[in-house]
């Protein structure tokens, strides 16, 4: 008998029919003798609809009110799921973030969990109930509702699992685990049975949408075992945990891609000291998260500087650059949205020299131009033209020996559809 925390995202609870499926899944676990806690997101598009209502009333809605508004979405799904479980003759009890003891700091819209008080949930379990916890929300020290921002519900699930010392935190989604690459663009991608926290963090941070980075960070910090699996099948997914007991570790664990960044180029910049400092401190001051920086070779003392940043920061980035253009004597600012970052990730990289050389050679042989490069001890990222995303992922996947013998059959999606999927919700 185990204690299992199961997190279901918005797609899994989007309709009464889907909520029934989730209820059945939870009851099956209960029948198998486990203690069961569910953590749920808001139904389908609820959050978007609430954001739309707020936008109709206030261009810049106060953060406190926004949290109070958005937190209702999870309260609806938590109650409905509890009702569905009770309808099948099992005890259920729902808990808001407050009642589940999710205590956060006061930063509305992106609060961080500071403590989990699990007494009430534990009490419900001891009385034989399936506990249903609203994801994405907590309460600050003053008793005000907060929300956790993107990845919030995954983080709630991991935090609840930690608080209850659960055996595993199962995160259900529409994919059946963590793959060596996105199977939608790389048909020979393999599902991983297990992956360590570091590799998972780098993959999540590089665009793999299956698990939210914050949740993985939390899990690593508190040694919570995550099981990423499909809401629509009973197949085992991928375990994320401390040590992978594989005898021989692959050098590269997986390849992620991210089409959500944009490249900003400042043309005609005088190549003199202090210019870059001025530019990037202005960007930092304006909350633009600069990822990679590329400075071209100077000609006649004039050069181009490019950087990449999240698409969400584009407007702020352009405003900042336009403002200081006269200041640094530069000519113009151009934005390229059609780029992709492709990242090789693997703890094994640390002890394997030559990864970068092999990657560059592979891309070169496939006529894929590298626009920028960045690295960490266990990651190598390159920026390529957006149109070459799938090709880049596939040739690297083959070159580093990740290809499966079987071919993934799902219809291939367009780059836009992938981008939309990768960047979805919380």
């Amino acid at each position: 008998m185990s204690l299992i925390v199961c997190k279901f995202g918005g797609t899994s609870v989007a309709s009464p029919e889907r909520i029934q499926m989730v209820a059945k899944k939870l009851i099956a676990k209960k029948q198998a003798g486990h203690d069961v806690v569910a953590v749920v997101s808001a139904m389908g598009k609820t959050t978007d609809e609430l954001v739309g209502l707020a936008a109709a009333l206030n261009d810049n809605p106060p953060a406190r009110e926004m949290d109070r508004l958005l937190s209702t979405g999870e309260q609806v799904s938590m109650s409905l799921l509890a009702m569905a479980i009770e309808a099948r003759g099992y005890k259920a009890m729902s808990f808001t973030g407050r009642q589940a003891g999710i205590e956060t700091d006061k930063i509305h819209n992106k609060a961080k969990i500071v403590m989990v008080h699990s007494e009430r949930v534990r009490d419900a379990l001891e009385r034989g109930a399936i506990a249903v916890v609203a994801g994405f929300q907590g309460v600050d020290a003053e008793g005000d509702i907060t929300t956790l921002g993107r990845g919030g519900s995954d983080t709630t699930a991991v935090a609840v699992a930690h608080g209850l010392n659960a055996d595993v935190c199962e995160i259900y989604s529409d994919v059946d685990g963590v793959y060596t690459a996105d199977p939608r663009i790389c048909p020979r991608a393999k599902k991983l049975d297990v992956i360590n926290y570091d590799d998972m963090l780098e993959l999540s941070g590089s665009g793999a949408g299956v698990l939210q980075m914050r949740a993985v960070e939390f899990a690593r910090k508190y040694h919570v075992v995550i099981h990423s699996r499909s809401a629509f099948s009973d197949a085992e997914g991928t375990y994320v945990k401390e040590e992978t007991d594989m005898m021989e570790e692959a050098v590269i664990t997986g390849i992620a891609h991210d089409t959500s960044e944009v490249k900003v180029t400042i043309r005609g910049v005088p190549d003199m000291s202090g210019v870059a400092a001025k530019l990037f401190s202005a960007l930092a001051g304006n909350q633009v998260s600069v990822d990679m920086i590329i400075q071209n070779v100077s000609e006649d003392g004039i050069t181009d500087i490019s950087f990449t940043c999240p698409g969400a920061d584009k407007k702020r980035a352009c405003e900042t650059v336009e403002r200081i253009l006269p200041d640094i004597n530069a000519r113009e600012c151009v934005v390229d949205e059609d780029i992709a970052k492709v990242s090789l990730v693997g703890t094994g990289m640390k002890s394997s020299p030559g990864i970068a050389a092999k990657a560059f050679q592979t891309l070169g042989e496939n006529n894929i131009n590298i626009l920028a490069i960045s690295t960490s001890p266990i990651r190598l990222s390159v920026v390529v033209d957006g149109a070459q995303t799938a090709q880049a992922v596939r040739c690297l996947h083959t070159a580093f020996g990740l290809d499966s013998d079987s071919v993934f059959e799902e219809t291939q999606l367009s780059a836009e559809e992938i981008a939309a999927k990768m960047n979805k919700g919380r």
Copy 2:
């Protein structure tokens, strides 16, 4: 400078545009120097939608979960209204039932308020904010969310007004006050400037939908002055308070009608002692609220017994009667849904004999058959055929000198539309 509590129902906050109107109204009061508290219902049809979702998952949803589900509706409208006020440059702060200190008993779905702790709301007012309180909800001693049932938001408003010792509790709706009769069926109805608690209670209890009976009861108990007025104009409405300072009180204050009751007739009942007791104790045991009872003259030791009860109790009433038919040796059970109760209400009735005689004579002259009669010291109710509802109200309105010189111009509605309007939400 006064402290004003303003309650807005679901229709008044049904869309972002309407919420903007409410925000403007509140700000105008603030600009006039008043302290302002708003109490809001859920937007438009939200509650019905949530009830529908619950019904899709559970035929008999657990009361605790139902409360948690339904309470989200008011949380959405409270946040949106606060945002709309802030967008216009005024401070606003929203409060759930819990935060507004609405402490209730543990009876989920129809909780009663036991205490109001107004410190947080008062604090917000002192800091210059317009406070926005979610109606219809509270929290029990264990911290679980409760809802107040029908009339809940009106009751919240009166309770908040009592807790803050407000000067007035304004209840906004789509009608501009309390009328001597429903102007939709009685075009010569007059708006009352003022009405006392007792008369208002009898009118509300007899089908006048403008104010919820529970709220009026609460107001009477704690001497809260209610101002019932239109959400769509600035005209004064009707004040409900202890004493009406009128020099000469009218005998009849108003006429209410109620088409929501049904008449159940048990035919062929042996006229012997104990039968009625058996019948009505069975009905009471099955939570049927019997209103009026009519026993026909016996012929050959066989009689008919009829009673009226709320339409919502119809199914339970019929089941109960069918079950005991063999027991009391009766023939059959027939239900008539097309009836109306018409009630004359007036504190002045106490000191004016002959009201009943005059009413019966008036109805007789108009060929309106009386199916049942009931009275209280300040009310006389008759049941008539549903098709004669408007005619009955009008002829009594004229006979008791209530007719206005001007004629109400709104299009007349059908009996069904009126019934739907009279029985609407919370």
